[in-house]
Amino acid sequence: MSVKKFLNDPDDLVVEALEGLVTASAGRLRLHRDPLWLESAAADADRRVTLVSGGGSGHEPLHSGFVGPGMLDAAVPGAVFASPTALQVVAAVRGVDRGAGVLLIVKNYTGDVLNFQIAAEIAAEEGIEVETVLVDDDLASESDDGPGRRGTAATVVVEKVCGAAAARGLPLAEVAELGRRVAAGARSMAVALEGAVHPGEDVRSFDLAADEVEHGVGIHGERGIDRRPMAGAHELVGALTEPLVAALGLAEGDRAVVVVNGLGSTHLLELYVVFREVAALLEARGIGLARSLVGPYVTALDMAGASVTLVRADDELLGLWDDAVTTTALTWETR
């Protein structure tokens, strides 16, 4: 008996959810099939850089919820926790290019990197200008060898900032450069209180005792760095945030964008408690809280847990952050 979820055939989950999303969008989104990708239907300026991102499903609202004016032009969804194929990505790149080039925003996982790189090469051969920004913010997966840090919640910030830069009409090289700068200045760390359950399966990705948490988890149900005793929000959040401050070398007078991200089933009340702890910690160090997002933005299916992301901020980044955005999951007018 699998764990209960709202679905028909688990194999249809991703496509049916996308169909629901597109219906709910009332014409703002368009779904392409064979290969599968999601496009913003908003008529937008010609000859401007367009943005494509994507990756495994199960992280919603990432990426499909961020398609729309001011952010992504297309999202390319893989199966749950699996990269989209190179051909899906190529189709999206061909579909959204308006002659000014396409930026690929890729979370650092072997499969995603491979498929997006192949897509970039094929598109380039076809005469489409392509640049790639790799997001690798997850401090827990930092090591001297291996595939490097995983890409997690900082992706939202990269997508927002690059989307704004593209909408302003900046050339591809500059949009990519901005994205790389945001990614380089971003670190995240997550803790899970309970593992996730893959649709159609009956066990959690890992089992935790009632008094344990999994520190340093990723967003695919993989194990974290270590298992620690459950503690109060103050202590749990301190353990996530302190290493980020250190890794980014944030000091008094610096400013940061903060993302407190729910991994799936953690309640908004709790996420705001987490955010309060992050804000207090930054304030105590004299680090400015420049902007913030609190909510489930980059989930790991129904995992219980939260991640904290800090992004080093400057006026240029914040100006782009404040530009208007109109997507399913993130919407504001120019601030």
Binding site: P35, A79, T85, G111, L114, N115, I118
Partner: protein
């Protein structure tokens, strides 16, 4: 009849590969399970299913057949899907716009494709991957430039089979199998075996 490498031969080749793969599918999955994540058989089956769909459009040259094969693999998951996809892509592009293709072109395509796989995947010979079967096949095809396609493919198959066999005693340094270290020793690499199956199927398909 002297076999030529044309549309019909390419179709027979892919059919033979699919048939051979089906007889080996469980074994290939077992090998991936022992040293990887156990989805190699499913990934390859999915790709070969997409190949059939794309070949329904009836491409008119060997080049076009392998272009369809490439797209099918590029539309498939796993690490093997995109790598094989790019391998077939280079192969297709080395073949002429009009049939038939010759051994020099075939050798050139496999060389280019193998180089692309190595560039994308970062694997060297000895890392216990599909590359261990591809690199010897390139050498065999190059040496066989004077001969016909059937002879050349037989030489490539023998070389690839030897290469695949050599993976048994290796510890993986690339791909998922690299996570399990010594456990993988004694387990053949399924990707390399699939490459050998591919060339052997070609040798058979061009044999009359």
């Amino acid at each position: 009849m002297t076999a030529t490498l044309d549309r019909a031969a390419a179709r027979r080749w892919m059919d033979a590969f699919a048939a051979d793969f089906e007889t080996q599918r469980v074994r290939l999955t077992e090998l991936d399970r022992a040293a990887g994540d156990g989805d190699f058989g499913a990934n390859l089956r999915s790709a070969l299913g997409k190949v059939q769909q794309r070949l329904a459009a009836d491409p008119q040259t060997a080049r076009a057949v392998f272009a369809a094969v490439s797209d099918a693999f590029l539309d498939t998951g796993g690490t093997s899907g995109p790598l094989f996809g790019m391998w077939f892509r280079a192969l297709s592009r080395a073949l002429p716009e009009t049939d038939p293709a010759d051994v020099t072109q075939l050798a050139e395509g496999v060389r280019e494709g193998t180089a692309t796989v190595q560039r994308l995947g970062g694997a060297e010979v000895g890392d216990k991957t599909m590359v261990d079967a591809m690199v010897p096949a390139v050498a065999a095809l190059t040496d066989a430039t004077g001969t016909g396609p059937q002879q050349a493919l037989t030489a490539a198959a023998e070389a690839a089979e030897a290469g695949a066999a050599s993976t048994e005693d290796l510890v993986a340094r690339r791909g998922r199998a690299s996570y399990v270290g010594e456990v993988a020793r004694g387990v053949l690499d399924p990707g390399a075996l699939a490459v050998a199956l591919f060339f052997r199927a070609g040798a058979r398909a061009l044999d009359g």
